[in-house]
Amino acid sequence: MLLIRRRAGQSLRIGGDVEIHIAELSPSRVTIGISAPREVAVTRSELALTERQNVAAAESLGPEALAKLAGGLRLAR
């Protein structure tokens, strides 16, 4: 992974038409501005992770799986 140091107010470019602007820094978070063509999807990574997991949850369970679920779950009592 490429690591680049930037300060608030500075920016960087990815390819010819994507620009990342470091808008604001605080001790625990950073606010980023992104200029990109409309067709470039900008998504929080954890949203993509949740999407994939939801699709897996919706597709992986069939009625036969209920029998597997019914027994042996590690649940708090």
Partner: protein, 153 residues
């Protein structure tokens, strides 16, 4: 159903059922990957306790299986963004009772629960969101069980 006007829906696991319209859950933003799915009913069956089935009212073949997050992790604490709490209409968080459900996935290696992004239901107004936690304190694939081989026959 005894001449009542209760609406019916086709379900993934339980055939056609009647449900109480007033108990339908509204997801104002859908769920990630299922943004157009706005209405679900939550179903519980005595033989499947404590599982909760979130059945889509618009797609019969879409039914998430879930467990209360606290049944999985007794110390579970919701971490939700402001925007999600606003969607829930949970302005006064002190008095609002939120139910956190972890969606379940069956993988080849076992059964996991998504504690990272629980489905949060405001029990007062039945609005719901899937709240993606701002931190990575909980896993999206929290292990629940290995699949017993005996069931594969």
């Amino acid at each position: 159903m005894f001449g009542t006007a209760m609406p019916h829906c086709d379900t993934k696991y339980f055939g056609t059922i009647a449900y109480d319209e007033a108990s339908a859950l509204q997801f104002p933003a859908g769920l990630p990957g299922f943004e157009n799915e706005r209405w679900f009913v939550s179903l519980q069956q005595p033989e499947h306790q404590p599982l909760v089935f979130l059945q889509s009212l618009s797609t019969p073949n879409l039914c998430f299986v879930a467990l209360p997050a606290k049944a999985i992790e007794p110390s579970f604490e919701l971490e939700a963004e402001e925007a999600d709490l606003e969607l829930l209409g949970a302005g006064s968080a002190q008095t609002t009772v939120l139910l956190n459900l972890a969606l379940i996935t069956i993988l080849e290696t076992g059964i996991t629960a998504n504690l990272f992004a629980p489905v949060v239901i405001n029990t007062a107004n039945l609005r719901a969101v899937q709240a993606i936690a701002p931190s990575r304190r909980y896993s999206h694939v929290h292990p629940l069980a290995e699949i017993p081989e005996a069931v594969c026959s």
